[in-house]
């Protein structure tokens, strides 16, 4: 019954390509990526909802500057959505919305 949805933006670059001052957008990072959030900045028109609202929702789920993040899982189609470890919680979100989260890479994954 699956209506396989063809992603319009399935050409996402591999992590690090769109780096801004050493930071990458969380929405473009691959599974296994670890880092620390350097900024949460939604751009108007980038998501479905107003940028300020998207920003608040992300913060309410713990995406604030300084938080540790790690991408744990991703979906099959368009590698979307992603499951992100944010400090001690796991949050699922779409890559499109995660694009508002800028992260500085390079943090060893927490010891198992």
């Amino acid at each position: 019954m699956a209506a396989v949805c063809v992603s319009g933006s399935s050409r996402e670059p591999i992590a690090g390509v769109s780096a801004i001052g050493g930071a990458v957008a969380l929405g473009e990072a691959p599974v296994g990526f670890t880092g620390r959030i350097s900024a949460v900045r939604a751009h108007e028109g980038a998501g479905n909802i107003p940028a300020a609202e998207l920003e608040r929702r992300l913060i309410e789920l713990g995406f604030v500057e300084g938080a540790r993040v790690e991408i744990l899982h991703q979906g099959l189609f368009g590698r979307d959505p992603i499951a992100v470890r944010v400090n001690d919680a796991t949050i699922a979100l779409r890559r499109r919305d995660a694009a508002a989260i800028l992260v500085a890479p390079g943090l060893p994954p927490p010891a198992e």
């Binding site: 949805c5 479905n48 959505p81 400090n87 001690d88 779409r94 010891a111």
Partner: protein, 629 residues
């Protein structure tokens, strides 16, 4: 404004998945009253409990939220009750904020926000045993001092696990804490900057009071590596759903047969004891048949909800939404719509009830509106009758059974229509409204708790029987009335069935000109009316109008009769009609109840009727043009 005679009102608030409902169950047991808040379909769960100090308290379980910045209808309820703005509901005298002790970060920010409401509050650290087991060390005094609210540990799933909380509630009431006048709080909707500051403050408090080994739950990680694997995860999801689907069909069969034979026995008893006539007909065909046709759904509904509650309780439901989000999103549906739509293959009623797992009202509405398009089991008898009468049992294209292919085609048409309609709804009706971003927490896996699941199941059964039963049942009575009144006059021709004298027959004749363009004769039109009660009843009604005895056991004879009387075009047209037509009073009743709106129910009825008429019209005329008329 507080009356000493009234029990103290306490509201439970907290993040989703914090175990708040389990704690509520532990505090109140089975004394809960589940109803809806006036005007909305959000469930209101309230119960009275007696504290160890002998004080009666009224507990209210509010929908889970991360913030008082309400977005969904559930969250609006939480906000309005906490702020004392909810009309018809007395404001709570104090709050118990429930937090998952293993996952405090977001909860602490919410506590800081709740403090600004100005109500007295207790913070209950739930699942305290699991936190300790994982080596998370929480300094309760430090936490309490930093937050400025009393903090107590609680374990909802263990006897005595709520003693500390109850003692603290007693102390708070006995302490004669003067109730804070409503409106004295300073809560305003926080901006992004304020939220940031609050989260940083929460992080600082967390760092000072909690020492965690910084590991994720190894069990959850191991399970998720399999269950959230991009390919394997989808395969396993399908396997779980297949099992669920099988269970709904096969496990429910025996109890459904028992219920059916029970009601047949009741009908026979009514026949034997009541004098033939009005009363007997009403009791047998109206009351007993009407109740039976509702209660027969109960086993399917309970099995379905057993699966849903188990998957919800253990934490898998959020994962299913994660796996299906992209696939459902293509049709404008939310990831969580998948389970309700799949359930609708069994019956739209449990499917529509299962849409309660969808938070956003609009996503839920879209799912409710397309669920009846999924081919439910009640259509199968009608499909089978017509296909076996008209479609030759031939093998085509090397090994495919033609009858099976037609059946498959009808299922596919239903699925395609559901996806198409939801896509159109999104484009036409809700074009201006932004689609809700898909963001949800994937909680750690937990073992489902039998008391929680049993209580949930019991509440579903009660809701179904009491609320839906009244609406569905009254529609059944109306249909009985139309099909049996007026009765045949004295000395009427014995070979003419009684239904031909009824209002139903008059309506059938009256709508015949309308339905002639789609190839239906008046006999079909008459059968469509009792078919409103439940789709499969149409088969028995066709038997009645064609004066066939013993249709229940010998549908071959009915098949031969209609094969002789209808053209192929008429048969195909009726099939096309049945894919789309809103032919089920029970479904309409449940849509009315779940959307709390006559408007949406009529919209559903209208759009499905238009689709059915259009599909039948195109099918009939194409078939006639191809020489099948």
């Amino acid at each position: 404004m507080t009356d000493a005679a009234l029990p103290a009102r306490i509201a439970l608030v907290g993040n989703p998945n914090c175990g708040k409902t389990a704690l509520f169950n532990a505090l109140t047991g089975s004394r809960q009253k589940v109803a809806n808040y006036p005007g909305v379909t959000v469930e209101r769960k309230a119960a009275t409990a007696i504290t160890p100090g002998g004080i009666a308290v009224q507990l209210l379980d509010l929908p889970g939220t991360y913030s008082l910045r309400a977005r969904s209808p559930d969250e609006v309820i939480t906000r309005d009750i906490v702020l004392g703005r909810f009309a018809g509901e007395l404001p709570p005298q104090f709050l118990v904020c429930v937090a998952d002790a293993t996952n405090l970060r977001l909860a602490l920010r919410f506590v800081l926000e709740l403090k600004r409401v100005g109500q007295p509050m207790i913070l209950a650290l739930n699942m305290f045993d699991i936190a300790r087991h994982r080596g998370i060390d929480i300094d309760l005094d430090q936490l309490s001092a930093d937050l400025g609210v009393p903090v107590v540990p609680s374990v909802a799933v263990r006897r005595g696990g709520t003693n500390d909380l109850l003692a603290r509630i007693d102390a708070l009431i006995a302490g004669q804490v003067p109730p804070v006048p409503i409106g004295s709080g300073t809560w305003t909707e926080p901006s992004a900057a304020e939220l940031r500051v609050a989260q940083r403050e929460a992080d600082r408090i967390l760092a000072a009071a909690v020492r965690a080994p910084g590991r994720r739950d190894p069990t959850t990680w191991r399970i998720d590596r399999v269950l959230l694997h991009p390919v394997l995860g989808l395969v396993l999801l399908l396997a779980i759903l297949f099992l669920m689907f099988q269970a709904v069909f096969s496990w429910a069969q025996l109890p459904m047969d028992l219920i059916k034979s029970g009601f047949s026995a009741l009908a026979a008893l009514a026949d034997a004891t009541l004098p033939a006539g009005w009363v007997a007909s009403f009791v047998r065909d109206g009351v007993i048949a009407g109740l039976g046709s509702v209660i027969v759904f109960l086993p399917q509904i309970l099995i379905l909800f057993l699966f849903i509650l188990l998957l919800e309780d253990c934490g898998y439901m959020a994962r299913a939404a994660f796996l299906m989000d992209r696939i459902m999103g293509g049709a404008g549906l939310h990831g969580r719509a998948f389970i309700p739509l799949l359930s609708s293959f069994a019956c739209a009623i449990p499917g529509i009830m299962a849409t309660r797992v969808i938070d956003s009202r609009r996503d839920r509405l879209a799912t409710i509106l397309v669920a009846p398009l999924m081919t439910c089991s009640a259509r199968i008898p009608v499909y089978t009758l017509i296909i076996s009468a008209f479609v030759p049992a031939r093998t085509v294209w090397g090994g495919f059974n033609l009858q099976g292919l037609v059946m498959f085609g009808l299922y596919t048409a239903g699925i395609a229509a559901a996806l198409g309609v939801s896509w159109l709804l999104r484009r036409l009706l809700w074009r201006r409204e932004p689609t809700d971003p898909f963001m949800l927490e994937l909680p750690d896996y937990k073992r489902p708790r039998v008391p929680n699941v049993a209580l949930g199941l019991w509440q579903r059964a009660k809701i179904f029987l009491r609320r839906a039963g009244t609406i569905i049942f009254s529609m059944m009575v109306v249909i009985w009335f139309l099909c049996s009144v007026p009765r045949p006059p004295e000395g009427a021709a014995a070979d003419k069935p009684a239904i031909e004298y009824s209002f139903a027959a008059r309506i059938g004749h009256a709508v015949e000109p309308l339905l002639r363009p789609v190839g239906f004769n008046w006999q079909i039109d008459v059968a469509l009316i009792p078919g409103m009660a439940a789709r499969e009843v149409a088969v028995a009604s066709l038997g009645t109008v064609y004066s066939i005895q013993g249709t229940g056991t010998d549908s071959d004879q009915l098949g031969r009769t209609i094969a002789a009387q209808w053209s192929l075009a008429t048969a195909l047209s009726l099939l096309a009609w049945y894919v789309f037509a809103p032919q089920c009073a029970s479904t309409l009743g449940i849509v009315k109840r779940e959307t709390n709106s006559w408007g949406w129910m009529l919209f559903l009825f209208g759009y499905m009727l238009i689709l059915a008429y259009g599909a039948a019209f195109v099918t009939y005329n194409t078939a006639v043009a191809l020489g099948a008329g």
